[in-house]
Every structure is written in C-alpha cells, then in structure tokens.
Amino acid sequence: MNTKNVLKRSALVFFVCLLFSVIAFGQTKIISGKVTDAATGNPLSGVSILIKGTTNGILTNHEGLFRLPITAKDTALLFSYVGYLSQDVPISNGNINVALQEANGSLEQVVVIGYGTQQKKDLTGAITTINSKDFQKGSITSPEGLIAGKIAGVSVTSNGGSPGSGSVIRIRGIGSLNASNDPLIVIDGLPLSGNNIYGVSDPLSLINPNDIASITVLKDAASAAIYGSRASNGVILITTKKGGNGKPAFSFTTNNSVSKIIKENDVLSPDQFRQYVDANGDSSFQALLGNANTDWQKQIYQAALTTDNNLSVSGSIKKNTPYRVSADYLNQQGILKTDNLKRETIGLSLNPKLLNNHLKIDLNLNGSFFQRRYANGAAISSSVYFDPTQPVYDASSPYGGYFEWASKDPNSGAVTLNKLAPRNPVALLNLYSNTAKAERSYGSVKFDYSLPFLPDLHAVLNLGYDVSSGNGKILVPAYAAQNYLDTGQDNQYRNQNTDVVSEFYLNYDKDLKSIKSNINATAGYGYYNNYSKDYNYPDIRANEDTVPGSQPLFPYDIQENTLLSFYARAIYTYDNKFILAASIRRDGSSKFAPNVRWGTFPSIAFTWKINQENFLVHSNALSELNLRLSYGVAGNQDGISNYAYQPVYSIGDNSSRVLFGSTYYNMATPSAYDADLKWEQTATYNAGIDYGFIHNRINGSLDFYYKKTTNLLNTIPIPAGSNFSSTILTNIGDMNNKGVEFSINAAVIKNKHFEWDVSFNGSYNINRITNITATKDPSYPGTLTGNGVIQINSVGYSANSFYVYHQEYNKSGNPIEGVYADLNGDGIINQNDLYHYESPFPKWVYGFSTQFRLNKWTLSTVLRANVGNYVYDGTATGAIESNILNPLGYLANVFPEVLKTHFYYSQPYSDYYVQNASFLKMDNIGLSYNVGAIFHNEANLVVNAHCQNVFTITKYTGIDPEIYGGIDNTVYPVARIYSLGLTIGF
C-alpha cells in the first residue's frame, strides 16, 4: 500500500511538472513542407520528422504541414509514420513536400519479437501483428477485445457481458489439460503473471486499451521459445504508444454508449403458466398461483450507459526525451441492474536518449484505480425460473418487502421461508452489495546501452514491476431471504500481488558485407518473482456476529513462485535471402524439486526469401514470397500449485477440529505431493509462407502446424493408498493439435476519394488426446472433467468431449424421457452406454474485416464465425414439469420446450441438450466522419458511431452460442452496444 501511495504521488507530481514545462530553443533557419498519403493525396497529421543524425524533430499538424528549424550542417530529414514506409529526404531549398507510401500489411514493418525487433519480411516464425488502426473499434474496454477476429489461429471468447469480465484467449487450440492454457502476455517487455486480483474479474481489464499501439502474437514455438517455460500457449506482446517529437500534441477521445440485452430467455408467459398449472396441478399447486404478471427478466436488466474518456499528450522534452502521458476515465454500467465498474488509468512513457545516443532509456509507468459493484449473478438464473404470476413486492413480506416463497401459519401468523425455493431475483440484486476496490501499478524501465568501443554490442537491462491490491465487502441484511440460514453477511476479502522482473541481455548485431551476411545474437539472464498475499477473514453476519468456527487460523496465506532463466538466440542472414535462427532457453522453476526443476527449450527456424532470387526479384506482380520452416519446444508450468512437489503438513481450519476428551484439536494434515513433478512440454512444427502481390496491396500468409504436448500436467486418479489424495497432479499423457491458418489482406480500391480494404482469416484446428494414463488401458473411458459428468478427456478424442447418453425419440420427433440407446447392447442402460459426442471447441474459426472510405466517410465492419463447436444447454435441462409443479412447495417457470418434451425429471446426461453452436456474428459495424480542421485550424475532429454485437446467425437455441468450454448455465448475456464517439487532436 505504502509503495503504491508513494508511486501514485510521485507520478502525479511528475505529470504536473511535465505539463507545465515549456521548452524553447534558438534556430538558424526554418524549413517547411507538407506530408501526404501517396495513394490518396490526403494530408497526414502527426508524421514524425527528424533531422538525420540528431534527435531534433517535429510532427506534422492536422493539414499535414510542418515547420522545422534547421542548421546549416543538417543534410536530410527522416519522415516516419506508423503504418507507412519511412523516407529519407535530402534537405533542399524551398518547401519539402513528401508523399508517404502506406505500409498496408507491409513487410518493411518492424515487429517486436522477444528481446528485440525484426523486420516483418525477415521473420522466421509464425508471428502476426495488429496495429492500432486495425483494432476492433467501438466501446472496447479491455485489451484482448481489440484483436478479436483479427488474427488467424487466435480466438478471443468473451466471458459474458459483465463489465470487465474479460475473455478467454486461446492460440492454436488448447495444449494442456490441467495447467494453464492462457498465453503469456508481455507489456513493453514486462511479462504479466496473471495473478488474480480480488475484486477484479480479469486483471487485463485494468489496462487501458487506448494506450496500446500494437499487439503482436507469437504463435509457433520457434518464435515463442525465447520465452521458454511460459510460452507453450503462445505469447502476446503488447506495445504501448510512445512519445513524439517537439511540441505537445494533445488528443482527446470520448466514447459513450448504451448497452441493451439482445435476447431474453424464452419462458412461459404468465397466462401460459397459469393454464399449465390449472390443467396439470392439483389444488395445492393452483393455490400457489399469484395474480401478478411479472416479466422477471425485464425486472433485472437495464439499458446500461458507458462513458470512456481518454486524454493524451505526447511530445518531446528538449530534443532527446520523447514523452507521452495518457489519462483515461471509464464508467460502465452492466446490463444487470446494480452492476457497475469505474476505472481510472494513467500512463506515462518517457524515452530519453543520453550519452550521445549511446544510452536509450524506455520508461513506462502505469496506474489503475478500479471501483466495482458486483451484481448478484444468481439473479440471472432466478429470473428465468421465478414464477411469473408472483409480484415483485409484497408489503407484508418480512424479507425486505419482497415476495418470497414462504408459508404462513394460519394460527400464529408466523411466516416460514421455503428454504429450497428460488429467491426473488429483484431482491437478490437489491439486497446484495458486493463492492470492490482495486489498485494496480505496473511499469518497466529499460536501459539499452551501446558500448562506445563496440557500438554493435548493446547491453540491455530491463527492470519491471507489477503491484496490485484488491479488496471488497459483501453486505447482505439479515432479513434477506438469500442469506437466510446465515442471517445475512458482512464479509470482506483482500489480497495483494507483487511481481518483479529483472532481465539483462547482450545483443550483437553486425553486418558482414564482405560475406553478404548479417549476424544478430542475443544472450541474457532473467529473474521473475510472483508473490501474492491473500488475507483470511471470518464469516461475519449482518449483526456483526462471527459465524462460529469460521475464525481463520492464519491471518493470511502467501503464494510465491520464482523463475530463473538463461537464454540465447542467434539469427544469421545470408545475402538477404536465407535466414537461419536458433534459440535456446533454460528455465528453473520453484514449482519443481531441485533435481527436475531446470528445463531446456530449444528452437530452430529457417526462412527462404524466394522473391529475392534472381528469377523473381524483378517481378512486378510478386512483391513478397517467404517460405518459413520452424521447430521449437516450449514449456508450461503455469496454473499449477506453487508447492505441489513438497511433503508438508498443514494445520486445519477451526471448523474442522477433532474432539478428544473435552478438547478440540486442529488437525495436522499431510498434503499429497509428487516429488517428480516437472515441466509439461509442447513441441511445434510449423511450415508457412508469407506472400505479397502488387507492391503488397494483396498480402497474407498460410501456415501449417503440428503441436505435440508431452508429459501433460494432468490431474489423474492415482491408486488409493499411495498418496494423501485420490487424484494427483503429475506428468502423464500426450495431446496434439494440428491445424492450418490462412490470412489475406487486400487494398481492393485505393484512390483519393475512395478506398476499400478487405481482410479475411481462417483457421482449422483439431485437438486429440493420444494418451492419458500411466499404464495403457484401452478399456479406460477417460477422466471426467469439471465437477459435472458431462465432459470427458479420453484417448482418441478432443479434450473436454461431451460424454452423454444417446437420446431416443418418439414418432413425432420428441425426446422420450429417460429412454436412451443401449449402445453396448447388454440390455441395461447404465454408465457403460455413455458415448463421446462432439467437442466444445470449434474446428474452423473465421474472421472478416472490411472498411470503405468515401472522402471523409468511413464505414467498417468485423464479422466472425465459428464452425463445429458444440454447446451443452444446461439452462434447458431445467425445463421439466417437476420444476413447474415443484413437490418442494413452490411453482417455477421454465422454457416452453417442456410443453413438447413433457420431461418430468431432469435428464442432464442426454445428448438432446448438446447442440451444434456454429455461428456467424457481426461483432461491429461503424461509421466515422473525419470533420477535419475545426476551431480555425487549431484542432482536428473525427466523429464516429458504432454498433457492437449486431447479429448472430446460429442454430443454437440458447441465448448465445459462443461459450468457452461449451457449458451454458445462464451466463451473464453479452449486450448489444450502441456507441457514439469523437476524437479531437489539438
């Protein structure tokens, strides 16, 4: 806390100083000119112009104009602009007018790779970069949303519509069963631990997307292997925006939106419901019917407002210290009433060059303040099931004036709550207050020193930190039916995380012209420590009494892990045609025993730039043709417990004590362990081509890959009696992913008035488990996953395949309750008749983006499609007659489907509920108008309007077919968002 306060305060002081600093300097001569887009002739604002050999420079204004003081000895200007090819222009007399060539998907583009950068045309691995201009637009409040649908082989699946709930990111399918499948995320060289922050659903939601300049995804092991043990699920490199040159340039962006529920669950209407109860229920049920007509889903959802405002200023202090400061305020309501998120972020980037440019320093500091009120998610399923004939309020109710299922003693008038009935959804929301606050600060400083006596050798020190804390309180009054048994609650939660990174590496980059070669070699060392402290609190009732037995034994728990790494990479380029790259990383993890904790992760890759061969180099049509071949091994140790290899005793809770005589003793419990626990390894073979035609107006790539994970970190049942648990996390099993990725980007039309760009990507991935047990056993059906028994990991099938009974149907095509196919033909329908039926993972994933510009108007859209993904509609399993006429003494609503199936009891293991959830979605459609110069050319204005989650085409009958993991249990629905925004530059 203290550290953070100090940081907060010093950051503020610093920003203030910065904003008021005005720097003037003397000049000898002014040179001026205009920069335009070569294709369209439109002026380009914000182009960086640097006097060659110095750090003096300036940016163009809104009309593309610039004025720059120069001295007599200056000879040339360097023009550079994100997304365009840079140009050197000699200084001449008179105006200098420059037309910059757009680098649309250009191979000149510089791409960040681990511990360095590379030109896109020289890449040896499967790497894709998306720049800010190609990000998803509209109301995007979390970084991963920016690239949804944009990269072949990368799927971004929303966790639902709750503000800040984030997404699941998967690169080339899943590579692990029980360790993490999340990619490693690195922001400006700072790898994030992904540690949970209490009160924050997704730690990534504390990062301001407005600060992001580009997102690069390392997909194959060859490019990711430099990140070693944490790279087997791919790596996402986030590069934030940096400062400019010269005078401060301000940019203000505001985005305001309203979100609305797209589709309610279809339930029986009050009249249908009454008819059903009157026709099917006896008098005791009919007596339970109410007189109201309540649409419970309308009662809990709202049209939600979001405002996101971002102000940034960038420029340069003196001539050698580019800076950028950005502040953002987000206030987002959820469509579920009472749900709200407020986030303030502030970011600073400083990039001074010192000691005659020998020392480059990159400093990034970021702070986030987060306030959240969580709505009670239980209201969502309750709103589906609650009796529509009951009123929301009941003045005589002792449960806060809300109607609840209860019985009244006719004599005493005493009201007794029906403890097993669903709760009033509105009361669930209004009588539940879960408020959280979180703070996070992260940053890094990189010193890049080129040795004066050997300028090709750079020594780089990178230090980073990420500290966060979260805390919150849950208040429920004693009279609320939802916490009736515990008479309310006044509970709190709190944790702190501190992650530290230090890396030191040497980089040597040398052109050896005599032998037409270039050598780029890197070697380094890294230290990574993740520390989190979780506080324990007793359970407190609304009246402040402590629930007996809940007093924690320890005030907190500490979880810590450390990783040490040595790494090296060499890239050899011959004649600008052949590139051979090899890397090796050796990682030691505190999660494993000393004898097995070090793992080695090598990679090798080769690129042949075919278009550089003599027979192609002069081709006008073909501008790029690279063949890439790579192989690499990466490891995984994330998502598993920190101390699983150690035999230790833990003291049990105060509610789990043992009586001897008249004294209760806390138990000392030995924990299960596997002393041999070690790395899970994924080897990836990748073959790809990058192609470009007509000066790269058409470009893209095609990749084939085969990923094989061995020594899977797998929680398996072990022989009872051999350890202190029935299951243990150990290294058993193999799994592979095979796939193809294809992308094409085309500037179909490009002229001064009209532009049309199209991008399409598609990928195919198939996942297979090839071994899952220590001893080969073909009769082993597999390991059931999750806590249900609907999915299974079995040899020969995709991970998490559905494992269900085959439903039998009657002549009219309706399912017959409890009648399943006797698949093994033994005359008995039992567990042996369950079968593997499809998987929740899509086989094909497509993304399509297009953009039309007509003069100042731009229309853009993004579509996505998944094919071959299946979803288990868990919500529909509740559509049974015994739920409407519940023997537990209440009525409950269900889907009208029950009128067709007439199921009396739930049939959760039927394949009837597993549905093809392939879909086509329009994520976004937007229109923007570039107003141009306003306020007497003092500012530049762009306005835009967007609609997100426009439509979904699917056969799936639930609310949303896109559910990671494939189990649909009344999730918080994703909303349709209508937003209006504007950007002013001044």
Binding site: L355, L359, T416, K419, F447, P452, L485, D486, S502, F504, Y527, P548, G549, F554, D557, E560, N561, T562, L564, S589, S590, Q646, P647, V648, Y649, S650, G652, D653, S655, S656, R657, V658, L659, F660, G661, Y665, N666, M667, A668, P670, Y673, P717, A720, G721, S722, N723, F724, S726, T773, D777, S779, P781, L784, N787, V789, N830, N832, P887, L888, G889
Partner: protein, 534 residues
C-alpha cells in the same frame, strides 16, 4: 570511458552481480505449513497429527465442509465422501432399512442393487477408507521408537505417542475390516510402503482377515485400558469389539467358523464395565457424548467445531422433510433434505402397529408403508431415530440450523450382547444359551421399559436374532453385513420393496454380495483384479 558513463553502468553491474547468486531463490516454502520434522517435534505436534488420524473418518477435510480429502470425477457434493455417510449408503441404503428420494442414478442404483464399477458412492467409501489407512500409515511411520528418539521425545511423552500409534494401527485395522467386508480383495498398503506414485498390491480376503486379526491382537498391550482413554479415542474394548465383529463374520470372509472367538471377545467387552444407556433414544440425541455408559467408540461431530455434511448431520437432515415444525423438533430449523426413509420391512419388524409399538426403539414418523414412487419422500416411513435435540429437549446450537452435534456410535455394548447370542446359537463354545437369552432380554427390557417384551430360550432363534439386530441396530451401518451373514442379501428368499429395482422386490445375482473395485482404481492400479461379475 567517461565518469558519467560509469555512473550509468553501476546499476547494470550491480544487477548482474545480484542475478548470479540466486539459484537458491528457487527453494520456496509455503508459509502456513511445516515439513515433517517440524510437525513432529513435540507431543503437541503428534497430537495434531493424531487428530488427523481420527479426523479422516469424522470429517471430510481439514478445511471446512466445502472441501474433501478425497476427490474423483462425478462428485458434485463433497458431503458424500464423509466416512459414515459413505458407509451408511452402502450398508443401509442397499437393504430393507432405507430408500432415498434423491434423483441421482448412482444413488438409486444402491437400493436397486444394480450398481456398476463406476458408481460414485461405491467409490466414495473405497476412497475414504483407503485415505484413512494412508494417513494412519504415515502416522505409524513417523512414530516409530527410532523417530521418537531422533526427535528427542522421551519418557511420558514417548509413552503417549506409543498409545497414539497403537490407535492409528487400530483405525487402520478397522478400515481394512470395512474394505474386507465391502470389497473382499482391496489393495493393501502399510507403513512399509512409500508415498508417491506407488502401485499397491491386491490382497485376498482371507489374507486380509489374518492381517486384521493379527494387528488387533498385536496392539492390545499398547492400547489404553477400557474406559480409561479420552472420549472418542479407541481403547482395548474397541479392539475387542472389532475382533468380536470380525469373528462373527469370519465364515463369510474366510469360510472358517470362529464363533468361539467371537464369544471370547464379546465377553471381554461385556465384562469391561460398560452398561446400557437407560433410555434407548438417548443414545442418538445431541448430548450423547455426555454420561454415555454404553458407547465403546463413537465418531464425534459438532455443529461448530467439527462441521460436516456427513455423519449425524446427514442422517438427521436427510431423514426429514421441509415441515418447519417437524424440523424444529429434531433440532434442524434450517430444514430437512427430503431424502432417506424406510421401506415397509423395517417398521413392520415392530408389528403393523409400529407407530404405537410398546418397543421404545420404534422411532418412526409419518409416511406410507407402500413406496410406489421412490422419488416421493412422503412414500415410505420416516425414521426419527437420530436427533439434534438433547435428551432433555434442548435444541443443540447450530450455526445454520442444519449442522448437527450428535455423535454416532461405531461400537456399543448392545452389539456385543447380540454377537454373544448369535455366536452361541451358531455353535460357538464358551457361552451359554441362558446368558444369551438374558442379554437379549436386557436389551428388550430397556426397549419396553419392563419385562413384557422378554423372550424365552425357545424363541431365541437365528431368524429372531436377525430381526432383533434390525430393531436394535437399524440405520447404524450393520444391515448389509447382517443380511449377507444370514444369506438374505441377494437371494430371492428375502425381499423388500424395490430390491433389484422391482417394486415387489426381486433377488439379484450373488456377485452383488461384494462391491466392485471402482473402475477408476482398476485403471489407476494395474495390480488390481476386479471382483467377479463386474
């Protein structure tokens, strides 16, 4: 190099130096737990570990009701992994004593007698038993004389730990008896085997019988004398009671009759100073830990200190519906679970007027004799035997009105009386029929409050013993073992509603006399051979 450059380089050099000395930083330890040498450095540490030895059958985990020591695919409610609940499910729900209304295929298959090797509840008791055995093995390994002296534990402290160790061996023998009874040929691990990914060997039922017998005999001198140990800890009488139970069933386990030995050990318990609880129903009230002269070894539960949704909480809550008056009367204002009740056979042991039987053991509530719909809790007779109210009618405190504080006996004097009588009838020597009749009548006089229920020697037959065991010990985890000993468990000779999945009742194949080794275990342990028929 210029000075300013040196200044800049200093942090670089400092950082490099600091990096290169940190391989040890990879040795991280959890903060709230200890390695063995720390845990076992004192008598108090040993006692905490002994608490886990017992807690392995009285609780589901050391961290509250939401976690379990054992886990396997398919569990959605960890409460089912509690020892007594899991044992009761396979011992009583499979018989004429109980039927459950919960719509859970695996649970229903217990009463229907069509369970398979993937049955969740079969797995639960198997895993729980072996878990306690594993914890006992660890304690036994850590408490050898060599370990004690190396840790400097001597004198009186060392003597106490020796008693602890004998108790751990007793509990291990008890769980091996459970496994031998239910599964016949379980895997066999002792303190001689390592912890890790060891693959245990299977042991045959008769070899296991010999092992359990030899252990129980060997540890007698190290156990504390009857009634001298702390409450809820095993003593010599518990050891003898288990031996008596073992010998009574020896013919089932090994084919050899050991009724004489059963009489010998039942006698040892009977003569050890125990007496019957004067009022039968007070054996099962929430103050049964106090002044209880009959119970030899209980499992202790407490709504605050030893919370579990198994044990007595399960027995009491699952036996009641949602009627608030009824729930309050049994000390569970937080509500009943609408689960277990009895089919007609159990109440009819007390006659058709079971609700007004003079036999005080007929503790039944409402419900129809006939069960047409298994899933309707009101069909079947509610069992009011266990209660969370004290013998004086006080509702025991419960933090949520659900958790109970009633202890459950696993050995009590009445069983020894019945064992003695049955062993005499089955031809064991060392006892006599008149003593047997007097023991039975002692039980019946407590039940009736007078001698009106007494029987004569002529009435004391084996079928009477089976019925009397039903009346005395129902819902205490005896019935399946008893029915097997009498040949009535799977045969069509004795039926009850929904036996074999048929409303009228039907016999099933005799392989159901043993439970299957869980399928997951067969896969995980290639040394195991499945029981015949599964």
């Amino acid at each position: 190099m210029k000075n300013s450059q040196l200044k800049i380089l200093t942090p670089l050099i400092w950082a490099i130096v600091c990096f290169c000395s940190c391989s040890k930083q990879l040795n991280l330890q959890p903060v709230n737990s200890d390695v063995a040498n720390v845990q076992y450095s004192s008598l108090a540490g040993y006692k905490q570990a002994l608490a886990k030895v017992y807690g392995s059958y009285s609780l589901i985990s050391s961290s509250g009701t939401g976690n379990s020591d054992v886990s396997f695919a398919g569990i959605s409610d960890v409460g089912v992994t509690d020892f007594f609940r899991a044992f009761w499910n396979v011992e009583d729900l499979t018989t004429d004593e109980a039927i459950c209304a919960w719509n859970d295929a695996d649970l229903q298959s217990l009463h229907n007698m069509d369970w398979t090797s993937t049955n969740l509840y079969v797995h639960a008791i198997y895993a729980r038993s072996l878990y306690q055995i594993t914890v006992c093995n660890e304690f036994i390994r850590q408490s050898t004389d060599g370990e004690l002296s190396s840790r400097g534990i001597t004198g009186d402290d060392a003597d106490q730990v020796r008693h602890f160790r004998a108790e751990a061996r007793f509990l291990r023998a008890y769980q091996y008896w459970v496994l031998m009874d239910l599964f016949g040929n379980p895997p066999f691990v002792t303190d001689k085997d390592p912890i890790g990914k060891y693959i245990p060997q299977q042991i045959s039922r008769d070899s296991l019988f010999n092992y359990v017998e030899s252990e129980l005999i060997a540890i007698q001198p190290d156990l504390i004398a009857p009634k001298q140990n702390e409450y809820a800890r095993a003593d010599q009488a518990a050891d003898w009671a288990l031996l008596a139970r073992l010998y009574l069933n020896a013919e089932v386990y090994t084919g050899n009759q050991r009724y004489t030995d059963a009489i010998t050990y039942a006698n040892k318990v009977i003569n050890a100073g125990y007496s019957l609880m004067p009022d039968y129903k007070n054996l099962f009230t929430s103050d049964n830990n106090l002044n209880n002269p009959e119970v030899i070894l209980p499992i202790a539960y407490d709504a605050t200190e030893s919370q579990s949704y198994g044990g007595s909480t399960f027995l009491i809550c699952s036996a009641h519906g949602t009627d608030p008056t009824d729930d309050a009367a049994f000390g569970i204002p937080g509500g009943g679970w609408l689960g277990n009740r009895s089919v007609q056979n159990l109440p009819l042991l007390f006659g058709t007027n079971y609700s007004s039987s003079p036999d005080g053991r007929a503790l039944f509530g409402p419900g129809t004799l006939a069960v047409n719909d298994v899933l309707d809790f009101t069909q079947g007779v509610e069992v009011y035997k266990f209660s969370n109210v004290t013998s004086t009618g006080q509702t025991q405190y419960s933090p949520n009105g659900v958790l109970c504080s009633t202890d459950l006996p696993i050995f009590r004097l009445a069983e020894m009386y019945l064992t003695y009588a049955e062993a005499v009838l089955r031809g064991g020597s060392g006892g006599d029929i008149n003593t047997a009749v007097s023991y039975i009548n002692t039980l019946r006089e407590r039940a009736y409050g007078n001698t009106s229920g007494d029987i004569t020697a002529g009435q004391l037959t084996l079928p009477f013993i089976l019925d009397e065991r039903g009346r005395e010990l129902y819902w205490e985890g005896f019935r399946r073992t008893d029915l097997i000993r009498f040949g009535d468990f799977t045969n069509a000779s004795y039926l009850w509603p929904w036996k074999g999945g048929v409303q009228a009742g039907a016999g099933v194949d005799s392989h159901y006399n043993l439970f299957p080794i869980p399928a997951a275990e067969i896969t995980a342990n290639p040394n195991l051979k499945q029981n015949p028929g599964y």
